[in-house]
């Protein structure tokens, strides 16, 4: 169980995340929606402390994540994997080494520096890649892969961390619809088969509806909706997105729903 208590992050005068209180049970797949600048990314980055909170608590069991430092903080990051919009792989390293970096926390310092890995560690990484059907690229440089392939490698790196929680910050925003679907399917499978909590920022609503158990809507740093996809009415969604509603609710834009891209189905079919 992950509990956020009055979590706040201010940048100067503005509060990017404002007094957020949430309970996220283990094994849930949560989608966070909202317009650009609503604080989705900041919220996710607070959870693995890539950004430090200004106020409030992040409780995982009895530990306050907001207070962690040094090795304990690195251990938490290793337990709480993150997938980025731009993949954040090391382009000039091969795919396998990229996945193996997921094991860095458990590695003795000298082995990490010399890049010495045991056969067991390599096998583990190859298996993680194989789950995402990327094992054949293991010896290629990461930068030679397409965006969709890089994101799958990034997911394999996250799997190599054997995380308790998987954070995904706009994982499909840079991908075409087919790759977006592959990536979202992979996240859903990991959530269901491994029982890992997945918290995912999504820009488009239909993806959140299709894949998540629970949707959290954010506006100006506050949580304005928290419920099941069925509870999220169209009017509420329009409120959450404000001026961006047309773009975000248009299933053709960056959607994972391939069928909706057929011109036969006009965008207003949603209404």
């Amino acid at each position: 169980m992950l509990k956020l208590e009055k979590l706040t992050r201010r940048f100067g005068e503005t509060a990017a995340v404002d007094n957020v209180t949430l309970d996220i049970p283990d094994g849930q797949m949560v989608g966070i929606i909202g317009r650009s600048g609503a604080g989705k990314s900041t919220l996710l980055r607070l959870l693995n402390r890539l950004t430090d909170p200004s106020d409030g608590q992040i409780l995982f069991g009895d530990t306050d994540i907001a207070q962690l430092k040094g090795r304990a903080l690195r251990q938490w990051r290793s337990d709480c994997a993150m997938i980025f919009q731009q993949f954040n792989l090391v382009g000039r390293l091969d795919v396998l080494t990229n996945v193996l970096t997921g094991r860095l926390f458990d590695l003795p310092g000298w082995r990490a520096l010399a890049q010495v890995y045991t056969p067991q560690e390599r096998a583990f990484a190859v298996q993680a890649l194989d789950r995402l059907t990327m094992a054949h690229t293991a010896l290629q440089r990461a930068e030679t892969l397409s965006g969709g392939q890089q994101q799958r490698v990034a997911i394999a790196r996250a799997l190599a961390q054997e995380p308790k929680i998987l954070l995904a910050d706009e994982p499909i925003a840079s991908l075409d619809p087919l790759n977006a679907k592959v990536v979202m399917d992979a996240l859903r499978t990991i959530n269901q088969q491994d029982g890992i909590t997945v918290i995912c920022n999504l820009h488009t609503l239909d993806t959140a509806r299709d894949y998540c158990d629970r949707i959290i809507g954010m506006q100006a740093g506050r949580v304005v909706f928290d419920g099941t996809p069925a509870q999220l009415t169209h009017g509420m969604a329009r409120d959450i997105y404000g001026a961006e509603a047309d773009e975000a609710l248009n299933e053709g834009a960056t959607s994972t729903n391939l069928a909706a891209r057929r011109p036969a189905e006009p965008a207003h079919a949603l209404v």
Partner: protein, 302 residues
Amino acid sequence: MSDQTALGAVGLFEKHRAELKASKRTMNLIMLAAFLVCLALSVYISQFYPERLANGIPRIFEYFGTIIPNLQWEVLFEGRTEDGRAVAGSITYWYTDFWTYVTLIWETILMAITATLIGTAVAFVLSFPAAANLAPNSWIYWISRRFLEICRGIPEILLALVFVFMIGIGPLAGVIAIAIHSAGALGKLFAEVNENASARPVEGITAVGGTWVQKMAYGVVPQVTPNFVSYALLRFEVNVRASSIIGFVGAGGIGQELNRVISFYSDDRVLAVLILVVLMVTLIDLLSERLRLGYIGRENFA
């Protein structure tokens, strides 16, 4: 109506443009005046007058006259006579000390290699804390920046003088002096390369729970290695030149011999050494450029 507004916008723009130009013009005139004053001062202080230069030119040839060997075509390729003497006017006579020179040139190249390796290693380690985007905190950043500045701020020849005094005449003093200067110069360049590295891989390594050293080793080093290699090879070329003159203060290498023949003889031996030095520098430059281009090509198209 719309024509009028358009004209109004253009008029306003022209007015602003004229104002901007006027304010720039004053500044430019002040700068030009300051430049001219500085130029006049430096000409006066250095006595840089055309007639002095004109008077000096013939003397260049005079000097060359004294160091040009007196080669005779008939005996040019004569070897040594039975009693081991070289015939005056032959190349053998001119280059009597050939093997001494070659040994010293070899020593010069080795000095440059060693100094470059040590300098690169120090620069590599310090370039991460000295990069504004990577430094773990501002104290470490400040200290490593200043340290690199001091290293490159002191001229090699001064450092060499100090080390010759400390540890005695010989190549070790030269190697240390050149290594320190290289560390400073390369460290600054490396740090600037690091500052241009993408933050994304670094963030990726942070997110898996990596330490600062791991972030550098995995997130930054793979990105910057080609540039580091290229700069280190360029520095090697510079260091070959540096190590061939540093011997003037007794810090080893061919410079020591060059200094000796200039101050004791000032005859054709000066030219003999100079030719070898120029040959060595050119060859090393060509070789290093080949290496550099080859490596960069391979890295970019792998």
